[in-house]
Symmetry: C2
């Protein structure tokens, strides 16, 4: 089994180190990841600049390739150029911070898995729902299980699995739920400041709004100390609205 | 009526100039757009850097605000900070180049309209399906019509309209079709080169694959010299797969 690993926290993040160690116990792995953090880059790709690739060594052995691009760039470059083998699954993570509800749209972690499925390779995105508690043990064993199941069962063309794990020890996890994407989002504010040269600048900040309450929604499940697994696909047509639009009588 | 206009080609692109002129004939408009081209940035947002805003003047009058951020940043900043009025519709464009099929995922133009609908404001993305023929006349009049219809009829929460217009004169356009998102995508290649300092670099390039043939698909309609209007929503759950995943017996 051959696995390509990437992330959006960058190749030096602890989450990608942890998942590489876990997955190389069950497969041949290749790491291709951004050289620095690329969070919230969504599905950005790099068309106007050349991409550079560096070999990264950790603990005296080859760890993987660092790319001066986005997570989606890493998947494209990994699958097309850097891997000498045919890849069975692309795993993105382990991200620090949740990738649930509306936030999936901004997520470099999920976009990397989406890029994989666009290219015809099954994708798995794994996020820990904490920004500061690197409790990777459960995520690692679950990723091992899911990768095996993905290879065994396959995934429909265009579909990836988006997994969010609470930052708890394995015996504190209360279960696993197959979920839907929630509607929760950030309410943004801009902090307007004046720099030392008297120029205005803005910091984007925000407060998470919990808009979901049903027991089968990603954000809700996480609050119940359970793992959320959401099958995601980027078939964006609003089929209901498609019918209604015919009634608008748009004129040429 | 109050309209916020943005794009991903940057505030100095001809397409945003054209659509501003058209829409200010029917509404009060505010332009908030990236200071430079931000194509293929997807739904990236800027969290780690401060945002700067500059006033841009064209032809001796205020044209709009330029932001050192992404199209999604511009919409957030425009709606939250820069507009003094309540915005009725966010219009993104006119983009040079198609935003159809799988490419929607990489599109800053469409992401700006998506950001609007996340924030509860109807969104309209307008693209001309040519990279070099700035034939904006038909796009401008259609945008006028669609903005009025959006305000009149409303759009479902979470839904935007993604419009692609062939680069033709109004009398050459063969019709308007309500479409589905296609499956067409780019087959990427990487051009590996050596720089003058003997370091390797890669250029991403690609060839468009036409994978769609049905008459109600965005890419197909464009090839028939017709306008494509696709209702898009970012409800990403794969509901079929959701049922099937229960059969995988994933163990805690």
């Amino acid at each position: 089994m051959n696995i390509l690993i990437t992330n959006d926290d960058g190749i030096h993040a602890p989450g990608i180190f942890a998942i590489k160690q876990a997955l190389e116990m069950i497969a041949d792995v290749l790491v291709v990841a951004p050289d620095t953090e690329r969070s919230a880059v969504g599905h950005a790709i790099t068309l106007s600049d050349p991409l550079r690739v560096s070999e990264i060594h950790k603990e005296n052995s080859f760890f993987g390739y660092a790319v001066n691009g986005t997570p989606a760039d890493c998947v494209k470059l990994g699958l097309r150029c850097l891997s000498e083998k045919s890849i069975d699954v692309v795993v993105s993570g382990i991200n620090m911070g949740p990738n649930t509800a509306t936030n999936i749209m901004y997520s470099g972690t999920v976009s990397a898995a989406a890029e994989a499925v666009i290219m015809g390779v099954p994708g798995l995105a794994v996020s820990l729902t904490s920004f500061d508690t690197p409790e990777f043990e459960y995520s690692c064993s679950l990723a091992q299980q899911l990768v095996k199941k993905i290879v065994e069962n396959g995934l429909p063309e265009g579909t990836l699995l988006n997994v969010n794990v609470p930052p708890l020890k394995p015996d504190e996890i209360e279960g696993i739920v197959i979920t839907r994407q929630g509607k929760g989002r950030y309410e943004e504010f801009f902090d307007k400041r004046i720099d030392p040269n008297n120029r205005i600048y803005y910091w984007m900040t925000g407060k998470r709004m919990n808009l979901d309450h049903e027991d089968d929604v990603d954000d809700v499940v996480i609050r119940q100390k359970k793992v959320s697994i959401t099958p995601i696909r980027y078939d964006l047509t609003d089929t209901d609205m498609l019918q209604k639009l015919h009634l608008w009588n748009i004129e040429k």
